[in-house]
Symmetry: C2
Subunit: 235 residues, 2 copies
């Protein structure tokens, strides 16, 4: 059958908003853009959708190209479709938000892009509408993390409650009460306490926990209200 002949076709790109947590602060992985225009400017990792891959596959491919990682938590944010967002030619970009365990990330894989993990506070200027994408991704992250156990994707397999709390502190840029926080997260039943302690970060040591994977899958979509008064932090 013939094609939809009279219609205009567009480039469709993927841009990845990649979050990591260094134990202290939330960070974002940026690269030096590899092509004109704006070559060598700071940018989100991106690429064009290819003819035979789904958009989700394209996003996974591009993430892997930069980080070497597969099976990472990734979700489509939305399309960014302003006709003038790229000055060269119209490109409709799909923002994909990824949460990675920063410790699994291997620097050397991606020499080509000279990537760096930036604190949200001192991000450089970004090309095109990438700043807007980052803001949208951050807003989405805070929104989802207030309700669902999503931030575990940023942590290594074993983690301590103080680490977890410091992650929430980093994401929301707000302090939480330690007693209420631990009661809350433990009451979800998602965490299994291990016998060993992390002795690196304190004298007393803090117990390691791991996620209960099956409960995690079950409850991933539940409303768990991790963040008190979330209205205060989201907008």
């Amino acid at each position: 059958m013939s094609k939809y002949s009279k219609q205009t076709r567009f480039l469709v790109a993927i841009d990845c908003i990649i979050f990591g947590f260094d134990g202290e602060n939330l960070r974002l992985l940026l690269i030096h853009r590899g092509m004109e225009p704006e070559k060598n400017k700071w940018s989100l990792m991106g690429g064009f959708v290819q003819p035979d891959e789904s958009t989700d596959d394209a996003a996974a491919r591009i993430l892997k190209q930069l980080t070497g990682m597969e099976g990472v938590y990734m979700e489509q944010l939305r399309a960014f479709g302003d006709p003038k967002r790229d000055p060269i030619e119209r490109v409709i970009s799909l923002g994909y938000s990824a949460l990675v365990d920063i410790h699994k990330y291997k620097e050397q894989l991606s020499d080509e892009f000279q990537p760096e993990w930036f604190l949200l506070k001192d991000m450089p200027d970004l090309i095109f509408d990438h700043q807007e994408m980052v803001q949208a991704a951050l807003k989405n992250l805070r929104y989802k993390a207030a309700l669902h156990p999503i931030l575990f994707e940023l942590l290594p397999e074993k983690f301590t409650l103080p680490q977890l709390q410091s992650l929430y502190t980093g994401v929301y840029d707000a302090e939480f009460d330690k007693r209420n926080f631990s009661r809350k997260v433990l009451s979800t039943g998602l965490l299994i306490r291990q016998k060993e302690k992390d002795k690196e970060n304190s004298k007393k040591g803090a117990f390691y926990y791991i996620l209960d994977k099956s409960k995690y899958k079950d409850k991933f979509q539940s409303f768990l209200n991790f963040v008190p008064n979330p209205d205060n932090f989201l907008f």
Copy 2:
């Protein structure tokens, strides 16, 4: 400057998932598809993004083309990007979810498409992946409506509490306690009681309410928890 010359370009479409409420049930507006393939099959209203319009503008244009309505609540759901979703040619489609006051909708505007408002329960088979789009939109609607005062977009300016409750009943396919429900919605401070009653639907008559527009804007993003135990209904 030259274009991104070696990359493949794709058709980008908009498909609109249009919800309405007839006072009793949630309904979805479907049309007879106007082009090959699958001409005259039931379909979501859609169209191709044009060179000089943003994707949001395209969605608004397509909605207006079918319904004649402007300024309607609309949000982008996500991109549907399977390379084989349209058998003729690859088309990446952006799903846009719209909530309209079904009473403002004028049938005659859109003879061309022979549209009909379907109950979700007895929807016909839809072309391509439109069924998946509908399911995604419905899930999103239930999710958002559990937290935010979004369903008012489906109601006329003046409405009664019984009408509002019946809307929630329709959306979640579940009964809610009348006393708890009215306490909940009134406690948001979003509703202003009018002096007249709706006498059409009951002997006693029910007071009309209108939305307090300024508070609505303020609180639109707040977590208001309209639905008890939302986990039970969403998935």
